[in-house]
Symmetry: C2
Subunit: 402 residues, 2 copies
């Protein structure tokens, strides 16, 4: 049985410790250096940004992971993305990893590096060198929150979550933390997510992880911009002593559901805390030809400024939803399509229905609701998550002038 | 030699007359019914929305053009898009065409119908029936402006333009009018464009027209939403007595440049008059692998909310431009890329340059400027045009509640 754990996070599974401190990278003086460590090397699954402009730490981590599938620690700084910093930027990432490896007495190439913050500034390596021994000294097994706070940039809320699964062989845990897209300072647009588990996972579990990425972090959108630093890392150290491969089929299914739960909850936290966001909308596409189609259409609608402005204005504007669906490139037949806001159906077979206007407005006035399109061209479904587009989004992203 | 004609428009080429009147479709009482007529059937080239949700007049026109390549008139109403109106909507478009054909004594299937306005409302056919004889009676050969005004919805400015070309055989003209995306009332998001010429054009000129569409109307973006009614129609009635095929190669080139000029000027007018827009930005991509790549990247950056907010804030935020370019799916090498705001280079070989901050801010404070990316991976170039994302965009699209 899966259970959510109160105050859970990356340290919830067995054998993980973490820390978060002030290194002085951020002008604000908020915590900006975080460390996550596994007692023994953990199998590492990772997905990085598809942006052709990749930040130095992304390039560094990809190089490390070409030769290693186990990792002992991840060092994360906020306040500087170390992106568009050339060869020096790469060397700074490598140096950061080395400093952590030395301080922890670890083998070379056993530490990953993540950065988030301003693009185009060199890393303040003097501050990093001074701070790394301190963050190592701070490592604790109950520091999920410190870790989660130090990776934030302008996020308003901590994004930390964990579940436990009781199996016949004992308990396994999945924990996670992430940061989202609070971009009050320009050039900041990074999604970083860290998931930990104490189960033993086989290398071919990557396909499952990859699918979960598509249905969680890849299913959310705040403004359609893909950052140079996006990273999601799953560490599995096996310290529960339980091997995924030896779980019953039902338990394996439960574990996968637990992982999906952690990843989707963290992803929704990012949308809820999107820049200027006042609402979290689930865009659900049902009876599409394929899961890929359903997700593509749901994501496409999630990036429509017109639809997002209507959500902000609490306007149940089905014309914008339908028009956006039609231009998503996904197969649909307008005359077969049904559309719902919450439980209220507004469109049947492509034509407007007489509906309860009061009930409809009650739906769109909620802070969270579901917009559902039923295409009737297949059997596949998917959801994407988006926030509304508000004055504050424009304010946050326009008012700062370099 | 190509010359721009003051106050030119759809009636500038020989043999075209037009009219624009108040039919009472719009609650505002502004002109809302327009008619464009050619003295003799004109060869018709057309491009319609790719949205899978197509409005009734788009479906009707596509049916007509399957069997005819010459058209005598186009009737256009604003205030109602006749979209998501099912079989009745299609019949209303067909009826509208018939009424115009009867009033003008034309053969069946010789009139096209365009609509723009609210989605999901039935056409007020009683008003159309009463108004069609009046709009026919108003036809004049100097009514470019009346036509141009009656097709507008919430556009702030008339969008009308014409050029003339002096050839060895005499003068040929190209005129045009369009409406853009002023969407103060929700569900309105239509681009309609009408181009006229008095030259004789061969049917295979469509490829040239199609290319021009990509570099003009398809190269602009206000908010990335494709409407259900988008239509661009080019009429060539040949009444100058001059055949394109008999022009010298130089003159043919000039004619094509003239057509591109008319279409690009109209397209830029739409962006300049975009919802809440305060700036018109040309996004220029040079030295890409192909024209298609260059255009794709330029358009992609043009839809980045982050980049558009920075433009509104007059922030020369190169990180957002580069990050958006990198996620456009187009081949580029970050380390080879140069970036300019106007004449000021901010990035060389992917790395920030020390540049004149004063000069840079002077560029982004202008109402119109160019952002240029040089990729150094090929020899192809293209431009896209976008406006900034302002508070007023959100206001216009959020504050109306159905």
């Amino acid at each position: 049985m899966l259970t959510m754990l109160k105050d859970g996070g990356v340290c919830t599974p067995k054998g993980y410790s973490a820390a978060g401190i002030r290194a002085g990278i951020k002008a604000s003086g908020n915590p900006d250096l975080a460390l996550l460590k596994s007692e023994i090397p953990a199998r590492c699954f990772s997905v990085f940004t598809l942006n052709r402009v990749k930040a130095a730490p992304v390039l560094y981590d990809k190089d490390v992971l070409e030769h290693a599938d186990r990792i002992s620690a991840v060092i994360v700084n906020s306040g500087n993305a170390n992106a568009c910093t050339g060869v020096q930027g790469y060397e700074d990432s490598a140096k950061t990893a080395s400093l952590v490896e030395e301080a922890l007495g670890l083998a070379p190439k056993s530490v990953l590096v993540c950065s988030t913050g301003v693009i185009g500034h060199m890393m303040p390596m003097d501050k990093m060198e001074a701070a790394i021994p301190r963050v190592v000294a701070e490592l604790k097994s109950d520091a999920s929150e410190s870790f989660g706070r130090a990776i934030l940039t302008t996020d308003l809320a901590l994004k930390s979550f964990a579940v436990e699964l009781h199996t016949e062989q004992g308990v396994v845990c999945i924990g996670g933390a992430c940061k989202g897209s609070g971009m009050i300072h320009p050039n900041m647009a990074t999604m970083l997510a860290f998931i930990t588990t104490d189960v033993v996972l086989p290398t071919d579990f990557f396909a499952e992880f990859r699918t979960n990425i598509d249905d969680s972090f890849n299913a959310i959108t705040v403004d359609g911009d893909t950052s140079t630093n996006d990273t999601c890392i799953l560490l599995a150290n096996g310290m529960s002593g339980i091997d995924y491969a030896t779980l019953t089929l039902t338990e394996q299914g439960e574990f996968r559901r637990g992982l999906a739960w952690v990843m989707q909850d963290l992803a929704k936290c990012i949308v809820r805390d999107g820049e200027g966001a006042t609402k979290l909308i689930e865009l659900r596409v049902e009876k599409a030809e394929s899961h890929k189609d359903a997700l593509k259409m749901a994501r496409f609608i999630g990036t429509s400024n017109l639809a997002k402005c209507a959500m902000f204005g609490e306007d149940p504007n089905w014309g914008r939803i339908l028009s956006s669906a039609g231009s998503s490139g996904v197969n649909m037949i307008a005359e077969h399509t049904d559309l719902y806001f919450g439980e209220v159906q507004v469109l049947g077979g492509g034509r407007p229905l007489e509906c309860d206007k009061e009930a409809l407005h009650a739906v769109v006035r909620q802070r969270e609701y579901v917009v559902k399109l039923v295409l009737h061209v297949g059997d596949a479904s998917a959801s994407a998550y988006t926030c509304d587009l508000s004055y504050d989004y424009v304010k946050i992203n326009a008012e700062y002038t370099t």
